[in-house]
Amino acid sequence: MAGTTEDKPAADKEEKASSWKDAIYNSRTGELMGRTASSWGCILLFYLVFYLFLAGMFALTMWVMLLTLDDYVPKYSDRVPTPGLVIRPKSLDILINKNDPANYGEYVQHLENLLKNYNDTLQEKNELCPPGEYFDQDLKKEDAQENQGAEQPLGNEDVNARKACQFKRSVLGRCSGLSDNTFGYSDGKPCVLLKMNRIIGLKPRGDPYINCTSMTEAKIDFVYFPNGGSIDKMYFPYYGKKAHASYVQPLVAVKLLVNKEEYNTELTIECRIEGSNLRNNDVRDKFLGRVTFRVKVVE
């Protein structure tokens, strides 16, 4: 009795010292983190099966879900009811040193990149549509069903493919970069391209056009290309990337006729889509049918 009580504290100490190590690896029982190798094997196998099953179920549900999707038209487009408006160059703070080509070279590059697809040679392949009318190419219902069901024979053109209306770069006149490949940046009268976001099936009512205003006291004149900054209805509706591969959206170019007096001052300009049902006054989305940007020209 006495012997055991004497041993107790010593044993306790030993236990305490080794318990920490034992938690990770117990050499006596061969337990690693409280489990033996076979126990680990069992539990890992269990989880492997469990997660494989879950992953399988996940894959199955995803597959079923993807089957319900249409390749051409998104199931819903309620998150994008009206288009946003963006500008090129890709900056809302345009700072131009008109004497330094390196400075505005980046902007010119942005414009060039966009307008590449609008080269006249490319656009001439596209349809010449009657202006002022929607270019509706809706398939009749039977056709659509037939097309969806049938395998597309290889080499044949997609039956769902839609034609696109041409938008020649040359329409943009002085801002087309054809006559002036610096888009007016070199003489301090920069061009800004305005682009309306593509939205499948969108048909703007009215006659949409772009109107820009200066938000500061400085008076600037704007020159719009095409004339009046109008966006022709023939470019609508859009049928999606897959069906409408050659589609280009209509552009409006604005040339800012910045006077010498306004050099070195920051000019705030707002452009809106006017004359249609497209929203341009959303409180939260500042890019819905409008865009505000700042320009500063220095010499």
Binding site: Y76, N197, D282
Partner: protein, 1017 residues
């Protein structure tokens, strides 16, 4: 490393505290060694500069008052309110949340420093975390405050007055102004104003039950009868009451230096033990923190590996750690506990500390005081011996028990003696009150007899009027009998009737005949032996036995008008006729034996710890089942086998009665051994310190100890216990202050209810926690996938908070209403080392199985919502950089449409909502499976828990409100989502339900198997 350092320090701190306490304990013991009761009165006069006839001079008294302070108990140093409140904010979970909040602030600070002024999620999260802690803290504080108020309402605030003799004049002053040396006079009904040494006394009896646990009145007389101040008869203690008689005495101790004061100080010196639930929650926090850090670190490494900067990886690390904090759990636990507390309050158990609710459920030993807890604290006639038979009287409080045969002629004589030879009377105007509860003027045994006769022969006042009393001799300790002489009822019978009662042996000495079946038989050897046997038997039951006899006085010798002189005894007092014996006891409450039995089936040991005498204690213990039938003590075995006590193997004895004297000589190891070897223990004649030692010993043996008690002497033990339970009606303020729980109806059976509720809440808390924890994973995985696969964020911070703190609170609380799965009162108490509230398998099952299914459900729904709006799953991966680019206003989706940033943001909110809905749907399934851990949900009753059903409805309605209430998108980032997205997670919900049914089936079918071990939580 950090923790270990802390642990050592804490331990060190404890040790010094313990040592201090021990010192104080010793100190108190030593201080008890006073000799004021032993020294001659002259010395006493000198010592205190007083005079036993004229008292002190008032000038000197004033000086002493200035020196010693007023004669009142310093109110126990109440914890300041702000400390109480702070304690509510410093539990295990609370600490976890504080740390999380701090991390959030740091993360927010880092974000700010990096110039990101748009992301306020971390700030909101930190504020919410703090708000949750503070709000639940307020709630807990309010609960505590409310129950403290209930307790405070018991306090008797009437200032006490005392009759003091100073300068030879009697004067009534406030008891506060009394000083050591004052000469005071007390009479029946008074409370003793301080510890006093009795100088003169006339048949003075005091009720010491609140101090020592003796329910019998104690005689006080000027002689010193024992060297121990607690045992001697010439000291009366502060706060005990004088039952009858008058006495004068010199005050020897005032205020906190009185015995009561010392016990109160002792109680306040005993530290409160941590409640089992607090320990469980700490254990749980350890698990959570461990997992959080493990996960956080893993993804920290992964993030670095993917190519995030160190700072970004650090922010992710913090976010993951914080995401692991179950924000809603604190509220759930608090609400569950207070629900149970409320339920208990309806059953007359008021809980002072919410956590104590569960403690009762874990209790494995109840150390119960006897007087007032197990017994009624009311002397009652228990047995009668007449016609050579022992008859049992009905001792139940409500007279629901069996009565005995009252047809015998002997009984009529016995009842007449008992009714007439009795000076006790009912206080007037008590017609409406049941007889056992009426207040009586008179000593305890006469009271018992009065009530007994009132119950058996009817209106005793009228009865006494019929037998006009002509003379009486009250009981005194030298004669040990009382007698009275009455005229007879029949006016024609001119004999006098002498009735006498007293100590049985004294009564028998005076008898020559015995009444058997109405006939007077000579009292021969045979009857004497019968008497002796009966006397011994009743005495052995711990009962106080009185003998009764009578005689019709000879008409010629004592004609009408004879002047009886009781002091001279000028009449016949021998050759009387013996009627019978009546024995009295403070009987157990009617509900107690049943409750003790229930405790036994619930695996709870009931140990009696009392200040009363061993024989009485043992008798009551046997009576209520603490010592079960057939159990023997060492002494019993010795008597049965006719061998000396030393030769009995102590291990044979199931029961054991230890008295305070023996306990004093035992080492703590011996006490542990005794507790281990004898399942049925009774401790008698124990002092408050010894009660404390017994509780400590039980705790050393790994038990969770509940202590019940009512007296001041119990308060240190009440405080030391894991849960102290005080009696609401009979309990003293000291006991109530020290206790964690109060039984408003003083009913021991309420404890059983408490145990049941405690066990149920433990089980249900387990379910609630499992439910609450599960959703942690589907809340966390979106973030992990967001980091590793760079998908647009599927679940936002605010949405998570809504799940945690709004929609899921009610369902998790509703699990508290779940009925027990099995008969929990037939199980052993849980083993605090093995049966944890949150064990590894619970966490693993919730996190890695159900939580995983929920995550998959969420992602299915997320990808569905993305794909149907135009973002295919494969496109989503790696999309994050552009998606979150605020300058990119024309981002193309899978169909070539271009999205502005705001449009993408609303799409992201749609994803949040969809993920939210998925978690909700899965959680509905989850709450259903959590109804049971072992049984099938269908056996348990699918719709039986109405609260749970309403919680599910509530959850769905709230979910709908969040989704479809106008304005939600911009305030809380909830979007009105399409109906079918609610349906996407339903297959996963069904999977959860089916999988868990399979799990339970396996657990039921193959107990002890691998499946059971790994999957039963």
């Amino acid at each position: 490393m950090f923790e270990m350092g802390g642990g050592v320090e804490v331990k060190g701190g404890k040790k010094t505290k313990k040592e201090k306490k021990k010192e104080r304990l010793e100190g108190v013991k030593k201080e008890m060694d006073i000799d004021d009761h032993e020294i001659p009165i002259e010395d006493l006069e000198q010592r205190y500069n007083t005079n036993v006839t004229t008292g002190m001079t008032s000038t000197f008294a004033r000086q002493v008052l200035e020196r010693d302070g007023p004669n009142e108990l310093k109110p126990p140093k109440g914890t300041p309110e702000y400390v109480k409140f702070a304690r509510q904010l410093a539990g295990g979970l609370q600490c976890l949340m504080w740390v999380a909040a701090a991390i959030c602030f740091i993360a927010f600070g880092i974000e700010l420093a990096r110039g990101n002024f748009t992301c306020f999620d971390n700030l909101y999260l930190a504020i919410t975390l703090i708000a949750v802690v503070v709000v639940t803290g307020c709630f807990g504080y309010y609960q505590e405050f409310k129950s403290t108020n209930i307790i405070a309402s018991f306090k008797n605030l009437v200032p006490q007055q005392a009759l003091v003799i100073r300068d030879g004049r009697k004067d009534t002053i406030s008891a506060k102004e009394l000083v050591v040396g004052d000469l005071v006079e007390v009479k029946g009904g008074d409370r003793i104003p301080a510890d006093i040494r009795i100088i003169t006394a006339q048949s003075c009896k005091v009720d010491n039950s609140s101090l020592t646990g003796e329910s019998e009145p104690q005689t006080r007389s000027p002689e010193c009868t024992h060297e121990n101040p607690m045992e001697t008869k010439n000291i009366a203690f502060f706060s005990t009451t004088v039952l009858e008689g008058v006495a004068t005495g010199v005050i020897i101790n005032t205020g906190d230096r009185t015995i009561i004061g010392r016990i109160a100080t002792l109680a306040s010196g005993v530290g409160n033990e941590k409640t089992p639930i607090a320990i469980e929650i700490e254990h749980f926090v350890d698990i959570i923190a461990g997992l959080a850090i493990f996960f956080g670190f893993t993804f920290f490494v992964v993030a670095l590996f993917i190519g995030y900067s160190f700072l970004e990886a650090m922010i992710y690390f913090m976010a993951i750690v914080v995401a692991y904090v179950p924000e809603g759990l604190l509220a759930t636990v608090t609400v569950c506990l207070s629900l149970t507390a409320k339920r208990l309050a309806r059953k007359n158990c008021v809980v002072k500390n919410l956590e104590a609710v569960e403690t009762l459920g874990s209790t494995s030993v109840i150390c119960s005081d006897k007087t007032g807890t197990l017994t009624q604290n009311r002397m009652t006639v228990a047995h009668l011996w007449f016609d050579n038979h022992v008859h049992s009287a009905d001792t139940t409080e409500d007279q629901s028990g069996q009565s005995f045969d009252q047809s015998s002629e002997t009984w009529r004589s016995l009842a007449r003696v008992a009714g007439l030879c009795n000076r006790a009377i009912f206080r007037p105007d008590q017609e409406g009150i049941p007889i056992p509860r009426r207040t009586v003027v008179g000593d305890a045994s006469e009271t018992a007899l009065l009530k007994f006769t009132e119950l058996t022969i009817g209106n005793i006042e009228q009865y006494r009027n019929r037998f006009k009393k002509v003379a009486e001799l009250p009981f005194n300790s030298t004669n040990k009998f009382a007698l009275s002489i009455h005229e007879l009822e029949d006016p024609l019978d001119l004999r006098y009737l002498l009735v006498m009662k007293g100590a049985p042996e004294r009564i028998l000495e005076r008898c020559s005949t015995i009444l058997i079946k109405g006939q007077e038989l000579p009292l021969d050897e045979q009857w004497t032996e019968a008497f002796q046997t009966a006397y011994m038997d009743l005495g052995g039951l711990g009962e106080r036995v009185l003998g009764f006899c009578n005689i019709y006085l000879n008409e010629k010798e004592f004609p009408r008008g004879f002047s009886f002189d009781p002091d001279e005894l000028n009449f016949t007092t021998s050759n009387l006729c013996f009627c019978g014996l009546v024995s009295m006891i403070d009987p157990p409450r009617a509900t107690v034996p049943d409750a003790v039995m229930k405790c036994r089936t619930a695996g709870i040991r009931v140990v009696m710890v009392t200040g009363d005498h061993p024989i009485t204690a043992k008798a009551i213990a046997a009576n209520v089942g603490i010592i079960s039938e057939g159990s023997e003590t060492v002494e019993d075995i010795a008597i049965r086998k006719r061998i000396p006590v030393e030769r009995v193997n102590p291990r044979e004895a199931r029961a054991c009665v230890i008295n305070g004297g023996q306990l004093k000589d035992m080492s703590s190891d011996e006490l542990d051994d005794a507790l281990r070897n004898h399942p049925e223990m009774v401790f008698a004649r124990t002092s408050p310190q010894q009660k404390l030692i017994i509780v400590e010993s039980c705790q050393r043996l790994g038990s969770i100890v509940a202590v019940t008690g009512d007296g001041v002497n119990d308060s240190p033990a009440l405080k030391k216990a894991d849960i102290g339970i005080a009696m609401g009606i009979a309990g003293s303020d000291a006991a109530k202050n020290a206790a964690d729980m109060i039984l408003l109806d003083d009913n021991f059976a309420s404890i059983v209810t408490g145990v049941e509720q405690g066990r149920l809440i433990f089980d249900n808390l387990k379910k609630s926690i499992a439910y609450t924890l599960t959703k942690n994973i589907p809340e966390l995985t979106p973030y992990l996938i967001y980091i590793t696969c760079s998908i647009p964020l599927p679940l936002g911070c605010i949405t998570i908070l809504f799940i945690e703190l709004a929609t899921d609170i009610y369902p998790s609380v509703s699990l508290a209403y779940e009925k027990a799965e099995s008969d929990i009162m037939n199980l052993k108490p849980r083993n605090p080392r093995r049966d944890r509230l949150v064990n590894e398998s619970l966490a693993v099952y919730s996190y890695f199985q159900i939580g995983a299914i929920q995550s998959f459900a969420g992602f299915t729904d997320y990808f569905t919502a993305m794909a149907q709006e135009g973002w295919f799953p494969l496109l989503c991966i790696g999309l994050r950089g552009n998606w979150e680019d605020t300058h990119l206003q024309d981002m193309q989706d899978s169909y070539g449409q271009e999205w502005s940033f705001s449009q993408r943001l609303y799409q992201q909110y749609t994803c949040y909502t969809v993920f939210f809905v998925s978690i909700e749907i899965c959680q509905i399934s989850d709450v259903l499976i959590r109804k049971t851990r072992r049984l099938s949900v269908f056996t348990q009753g699918f719709f039986r828990n109405k609260v749970l059903m309403s919680a599910i409805v509530f959850q769905i309605l709230l979910g709908n409100l969040l989704c479809y209430c106008p304005g939600m998108p911009n305030i809380f980032n909830f979007m009105p989502i399409r109906g079918q997205w609610w349906a996407v997670p339903i297959p996963y919900g069904i999977l959860i339900f089916v999988y868990d049914e399979i799990r339970k089936l396996g657990v039921r079918r193959a107990p002890g198997s691998w499946w059971d071990q790994e999957l039963y939580y």
